[in-house]
C-alpha cells in the first residue's frame, strides 16, 4: 500500500516535470504541421537529425562551446564575486568605483568583438574574453548589491563575539551572498550562451555558434535545429548543475 503510494508520488512528480516539455513539443509539432515549411522541421525530424549529427561532429562543437562557456563563467565568477564582495563591504571604495561601473555596465560589450579578435586572435581566448566581460558585470553588480544589504545587526553580533574583518567576510558576508551569487550565475549562464552564439558566428570554425551559422548558410534547417537543441541542452545542463550545487552549498535556503 505504502509502496504503491510512493510509486504514485514519483510518477506524478515525473509527469509534473515532463508536462511543460511535452507542451512545448506538441506546440512545435502543431506549428510545423500547420506551416508545412522546410524552414520548420517537426520535432521528430529535428531529434532524428540531432542524434545523427552527434557522432558526425556535433559532439565536438558541443564540447568546444561547453569549454568556452564554463571557462568564462568560472573566470567572471572569480573576478566579479571577489570585486563585488569587496565593493559591497567597503563603502568608500564603492563610492570611487560606482561611477565607472555604471558607465561601463550598460555598454553592450559584444560590439568589442572585432577589437577583441584583433588583440586576442580568432581562437578560444577572444571568445572566452568576450563572454567573461559580459557575465563579469552581472556577477559584480549582483554580488556588490547583495554584500551591501547584509544586515549590520548580524555583523555587529559577530563582531561582539570577537570576530575580525576576515572572520566577518568568512562567516557572515560570504555565506549571506551565496544565494545571490547563484542567481547571478543562473542569469549569467543564459547570457553566456547568447554571447557565445554571437562570438562563435564570426570567423570561427568550431563551436555551436559556428555549427548553427554554417547550417543556416546551407539552408540545412534540420541541422540548424539540431544545433539549437544542442544549445538548449548546454543551458539545461548548466542550470541543473547550478541547482545541484545550490542545494548542496545552501541547505538552509527555503527552510
Amino acid at each position: 500500500m505504502a509502496q504503491s503510494k510512493g510509486r504514485n508520488k514519483i510518477l506524478s512528480r515525473l509527469i509534473f516535470k515532463l508536462a511543460p516539455i511535452l507542451v512545448l513539443f506538441l506546440s512545435w509539432q502543431l506549428l510545423a504541421v500547420l506551416l508545412n515549411s522546410a524552414a520548420l522541421p517537426t520535432p521528430g525530424r529535428a531529434f532524428l537529425t540531432f542524434f545523427q549529427e552527434i557522432p558526425a561532429g556535433l559532439w565536438k562543437h558541443f564540447l568546444v562551446s561547453s569549454w568556452r562557456v564554463l571557462a568564462s563563467i568560472f573566470i567572471s565568477l572569480l573576478g566579479g564575486v571577489a570585486l563585488g564582495l569587496w565593493l559591497g563591504a567597503e563603502e568608500r571604495f564603492d563610492r570611487f568605483f560606482a561611477p565607472l561601473i555604471y558607465l561601463t555596465y550598460p555598454v553592450p560589450k559584444i560590439v568589442f568583438l572585432p577589437v577583441v579578435m584583433v588583440f586576442l586572435g580568432l581562437g578560444d581566448l577572444s571568445k572566452i574574453f568576450l563572454i567573461t566581460l559580459v557575465v563579469f558585470f552581472q556577477d559584480l553588480v549582483t554580488t556588490r548589491d547583495a554584500a551591501r544589504n547584509v544586515s549590520q545587526a548580524m555583523i555587529l553580533s559577530v563582531v561582539s563575539l570577537g570576530a575580525g574583518k576576515l572572520d566577518i567576510y568568512r562567516h557572515v558576508i560570504w555565506p549571506a551572498i551565496i544565494p545571490d551569487v547563484f542567481t547571478a550565475l543562473r542569469i549569467g549562464s543564459g547570457t553566456a550562451i547568447a554571447v557565445l552564439f554571437f562570438a562563435e558566428s564570426f570567423a570561427s570554425s568550431e563551436g555551436l555558434g559556428y555549427y548553427l551559422m554554417d547550417a543556416w548558410s546551407r539552408n540545412a534547417y534540420q541541422e540548424m535545429f539540431a544545433g539549437i537543441m544542442a544549445m538548449g541542452l548546454l543551458g539545461y545542463l548548466l542550470y541543473v548543475g547550478l541547482d545541484m550545487l545550490d542545494k548542496k552549498i545552501c541547505p538552509w535556503k527555503g527552510l
Binding site: A153, S157, V158, S160, L161, G162, A163, G164, P251, L255
Partner: protein
C-alpha cells in the same frame, strides 16, 4: 577561583549621530553603575537609545561624551569578556545550532578540543543537545533565544548585554527563559544588563531598574528591586506595586523627555 562578574560604571555618557545632515542626540548625560554579579534592566520607550547604550558598552560604538568603564577599563570592540545578544538573536541562518553556538570560540581561534568541550557543555546546559544539527529557521522563537544565550555564554563572559531578549516570545516561553537566565546568574561570575520595553520583565529580572526618558535617552529614575528573580515574586503585591511605579515613571519620564 570563581570569576566575578564585571563592575560597570557609566558616567555622563552622551551619544550623537548624524541623520540626513543633522546631528541627533541619542543619549544625554547617562550615569549609572552595575555591581559585579548583578542583573539590571534598562526600560524605556522605543527609540530612547537603549540599544545604542548596549552597543557602546559592547565597544561597538564610541561614546560622544562622558565615559564608560568596565572593571576600570574602557570597552574595546570585541572585548573578550563581553557578550551581546541582539533583539533578533543575531543567529546566522546558514549555520547550524552547533556552529552558531561555537562561533565565538572559532573566531577566537581556540584549540578544537576546547571548542568541542565548551560547545557540548553549553548545549547540554541550555537543553539544546538534540537540536545541534538544525538551522535557526527550523527552531521556535524560544529555542532560537536559547541558542543565542548559549552562544553568548560559550565565550565565558563576565558581562552579558541583552537587547529586548524576550520581546518576540509568547508569555509562557518568556517566563521560562527568564527563569533560565536567573539560574545562569545564580551560577555566578556574570553581570547582566538587559534593555526592554516590557515593564513586567524589567520588574521581575532587574535588581536595579533604570528608567529612560525618550529622545534623547537619559536616566529618569533608578529603582532598587532586591527581590528580583526570587521564586514566586511575579505573584506578589510588591511585584505589582513596582510594575505600577515603573509605569508611572515611564509616563512621567515621557513628559520630561519631550522637548519644551
Amino acid at each position: 577561583m570563581a570569576r566575578a562578574g564585571a563592575a560597570v560604571d557609566v558616567d555622563r555618557l552622551s551619544f550623537f549621530y548624524a541623520h540626513n545632515g543633522n546631528r541627533v542626540e541619542a543619549l544625554r548625560e547617562v550615569s549609572f553603575s552595575l555591581a559585579s554579579g548583578s542583573i539590571s534592566a534598562v526600560i524605556g520607550p522605543s527609540g530612547c537609545g537603549k540599544s545604542t547604550l548596549l552597543y557602546i558598552l559592547a565597544g561597538l560604538l564610541p561614546p560622544s561624551g562622558g565615559k564608560v568603564l568596565i572593571n576600570g577599563e574602557r570597552p574595546l570592540p570585541g572585548r573578550r569578556a563581553t557578550s551581546l545578544i541582539l533583539q533578533d538573536y543575531g543567529l546566522l541562518p546558514w549555520k547550524t545550532v552547533w556552529d552558531n553556538v561555537v562561533l565565538g570560540l572559532v573566531v577566537r581561534r581556540l584549540p578544537p578540543g576546547e571548542i568541542r568541550a565548551t560547545g557540548e557543555r553549553v548545549l547540554q546546559e541550555m537543553g539544546l543537545g538534540e537540536l545541534r544539527k538544525r538551522y535557526p529557521a527550523e527552531l521556535s522563537g524560544g529555542q532560537r533565544q536559547r541558542v543565542a544565550i548559549a552562544r553568548a555564554l560559550a565565550t565565558k563572559p563576565d558581562l552579558l548585554l541583552m537587547d529586548e531578549p524576550f520581546s518576540s516570545l509568547d508569555a509562557l516561553t518568556r517566563e521560562a527563559l527568564q527563569d533560565t537566565l536567573q539560574k545562569i546568574l545564580q551560577a555566578g561570575g556574570l553581570t547582566v544588563l538587559l534593555v526592554t520595553h516590557n515593564i513586567e520583565e524589567a520588574a521581575y529580572l532587574g535588581r536595579r531598574v533604570i528608567v529612560f526618558t525618550p529622545h534623547p535617552g537619559c536616566v529618569y529614575k533608578i529603582f532598587e528591586n532586591p527581590r528580583a528573580c526570587s521564586p514566586g515574586y511575579r505573584k506578589t503585591a510588591e511585584f505589582f506595586r513596582l510594575c505600577t511605579e515603573l509605569r508611572g515613571a515611564l509616563e512621567l519620564g515621557r513628559g520630561a523627555g519631550e522637548p519644551g
